[in-house]
């Protein structure tokens, strides 16, 4: 048989196709030109989306991955192209998003000589990626690409960086597809220990006031059905982290709402009243736990996770269960006894009612005054029948969006959790439209965050990416302003911000837009946005000094949420 001799760059194309890649987000440059040249012949199979900044490429790949469940892929050049991806790599690492970033690199003979656009990318990215590898020979392309996708997708997913030296792109190789599905030093999903399962089952059976904490691990593990079955069998209320919100339908009777600093009152209070807590695919982030000294001290804790280094990292757990939660949840559900906890469940209602009266009703159904962020979010989720994909940027817009958007479908939340990356929203939403082309993608962002990656409006224009951009404009870096109001004596140090005319900007990019200032216009504008084909910018002039409530101040006990601020 005649083996084909091709370039390393062509081998990359074949390897990507072999991995089932269909969509790439990228930006060309000197050290990656042979790859772009090869890509020219693969445009039918590899849909390359030209972004406007490399940060946009990684965030778009993240948005794509989060909604589709497939690995995102970004291609950039060396040096500044590669360093522009750093924020997205760090973001994907902490939020467990599968992504492969391929950057160009100078040829091996020039490595270490401070050559033009040479940056030591492997060393820069190694602490913030799951695996970072330099391809120095065309012979290694097939193996490295397969290993990269295997690592990015398996176990606790994460970003992988391939630093592709130019000589390896141009030299010739006898191409043979590779399939890496085993690495002896890496066991992505260890078989669950029977002992741990039995201990977990015994604890859960003994529970009178069980409470389940749902994290993004449930989505990543495709374990929504297993979670539901588990909850229903043990009849346990559950709270979701922001990243885990769409793992359980918002209207499920056992879903008690969101956990953490700006989460719901009942689940936070009940965290400190439950006798057994089962945490599934979540990592006890400080934004979820508040003061660790007082967090869930009364409870026995079972922790289901695929990453052993998460056990006992922040919170001491009684029973760690290592494994894929699709598997562990199913086994535990099979073994636990059916239970009923009517009274315990109804005890959540009291706190939910308090929160509704003091916070929610005012936030989503205000009677007068300027438009509020919460009411916009509420109207959009209702108008999309809770079926849309929610993408957010970071700040108050994110907190209100996560508090008031509701979900019926899985893989519907794209928000920057662990990193809190402003500028994430717009490119991530572009990626989401490619990852879930049949769904409505609603993006909420602030005037600060929009301007951090506003250049991606160019990508939206060119691709006609149907992002519904809802700009919650308060003329402030709102979230920081809120903290200044609460903790820095109202000293608004560099948080008021002069804004450009966003409608003019949208117009320049041929994106239809509208600005609403009064409550009466809101429904009509949302309808117009949703019924318009393609992208749309809806700018809402919202109350300037609104605050996200309730709030557990940083370091405070999680059950001591502020529901109102003293004025």
């Amino acid at each position: 048989m005649n083996k084909e001799i091709i370039t390393g760059a062509e081998a990359l194309m074949r390897s990507l196709e072999h991995e089932g890649v269909t969509t790439l987000f990228g930006y060309p440059g000197g050290s990656i030109m042979p790859v772009y040249d090869a890509l020219y012949d693969h445009r039918n199979t590899l849909n390359h989306i030209l972004v406007r900044h490399e940060q946009g490429a990684v965030h778009a790949a993240q948005g794509y991955a989060r909604v589709s469940g497939k690995c995102g892929c970004a291609i950039v050049t060396s040096g500044p192209g590669a360093t522009n991806t750093i924020t997205g790599i760090a973001d994907a690492m902490i939020d467990s998003t599968p992504m492969v970033v391929i950057c160009g690199q100078v040829g091996v003979s020039m490595l270490g000589t401070d050559a033009f656009q040479e940056v030591d990318v492997v060393n820069v990215t190694s602490p913030i990626s799951k695996w970072s590898y330099q391809i120095r020979r065309a012979e290694d392309v097939a193996w490295a690409v397969s290993r990269a996708f295997y690592i990015a997708n398996s176990g606790r997913p994460g970003p992988v960086v391939l630093d592709f030296a130019k000589n390896a792109q141009t030299s010739m190789v006898e191409y043979q597809p590779a399939k890496v599905d085993f690495i002896r030093s890496y066991n992505p999903a260890p078989a669950p220990s029977e002992d741990a399962i039995n201990q977990a089952v015994a604890l859960i059976n003994s529970a009178e006031r069980p409470f389940v904490l749902v994290g993004q691990g449930v989505e990543l593990g495709n374990a929504r059905a297993e979670l539901k079955a588990f909850l229903e069998k043990i009849d346990s209320p559950a709270g979701c982290t922001f990243l885990g919100m769409s793992a359980l339908p918002s209207d499920h009777p056992l879903n008690m709402g969101r956990l953490g600093m700006h989460g719901n009152y009942a689940p936070n209070v009940m965290t400190n009243k439950a006798d057994v807590i089962v945490a599934v695919g979540m990592r006890f982030d400080d934004r979820v736990t508040g003061n660790l000294q007082t967090y869930a001290k009364q409870a026995k804790i079972v922790h289901l996770d695929i990453d052993a280094s998460e056990f006992n990292k922040n919170v001491k757990v009684d029973v760690p269960v290592l494994g894929d939660c699709k598997q562990t949840l199913a086994i535990i559900t099979e073994k636990v006894s059916k239970a009923e906890h009517k009274e315990w469940i109804s005890s959540f209602r009291l706190y939910a009612q308090i929160e509704y009266d003091k916070v929610i009703s005012k936030a989503i159904h205000p009677s007068d005054g300027p438009i509020l962020m919460g009411e916009v979010v509420n109207k959009v989720t209702e108008a999309t029948h809770n079926e849309a994909v929610l993408v957010t940027d970071v700040g108050q817009n994110q907190m209100f969006a996560c508090r008031y958007f509701n979900f019926t479908k899985g893989r519907s939340v794209v928000t920057s959790g662990g990193c809190g990356t402003m500028g994430f929203g717009l490119p991530a939403a572009v990626g989401a439209t490619f990852g879930a082309p049949d769904r409505t993608v609603c993006l909420f962002l602030g005037d600060g965050g929009l301007q951090m990656t506003i250049q991606e409006m160019g990508t939206i224009m060119e691709q006609k990416a149907p992002v519904k951009i809802i700009l919650l404009n308060n003329n402030f870096l709102g979230n920081v302003r809120q903290w200044q109001e609460m903790f820095f004596n109202h000293r608004y140090s560099f948080t008021p911000m002069a804004n450009p005319d966003y409608e003019m900007i949208a117009k320049a990019y041929s994106i239809p837009s509208r600005t609403v200032v009064t409550r009466e216009e809101l429904d009509g504008a949302i309808n117009e946005m949703l019924s318009t084909d393609g992208p749309y910018l809806l700018q809402c002039a919202v109350m300037e000094e609104d605050n996200v409530l309730p709030m557990t101040p940083p370091g405070a006990n999680i059950d001591e949420m502020l529901l109102e601020l003293e004025k």
Partner: protein, 201 residues
Amino acid sequence: MDCEQCGKCANLAEKNLSLCERLYTLLVYSENTPGLLSQITAIFTRRQVNIETLNVCASSTPGVHKYTITCVCTEDMVKMLTAQMEKRIDVLQANYYTDDDLFMLESALMKISTPVMLSNPKVSHVVRMHGGRIFEVNPTYATLEKTGATATVMSLYNQLNELGAVLQFVRSGRICITRSTEERLDNYLAKREQEREEIKG
């Protein structure tokens, strides 16, 4: 009451040994891939733990590298450090030990001043008492080697230093082997080999 383990902290009184800082030895095995050392040391830096000694060499298993690292920290911390290390893709195994679990050695080389040695008889006395081995003498200096437990090596150095005899001093990182009859790395590799066959077969 002071802690019996470290003599410093008062945690024993509170029966909270997990907070007691002591010397741990980590044995880390990895594939022989470049760049792993900086990944491993970065884990210590991030957790603000100082590496006391570090030795890297090929292990008895072909293609497998062995890192011997000592540090002072709590048991909770050393657990987190080893878990973080095992998370690196090319790390095979990371385990931590206390001195009771190990046979261990350190080596030191010293260059000492011949004139000081000749003028002060205490110098040769200290060397002999510690079982130090002098392997070359010239009119300017003598070279001295001492292998043993950290405490003995350091005692020799400190005493010679007090006598003003030391020109140069270097101490190797700790090297050690486990006392246990169980070979954890071999068992791990055997288990993984079996799992590989299950996947392929």
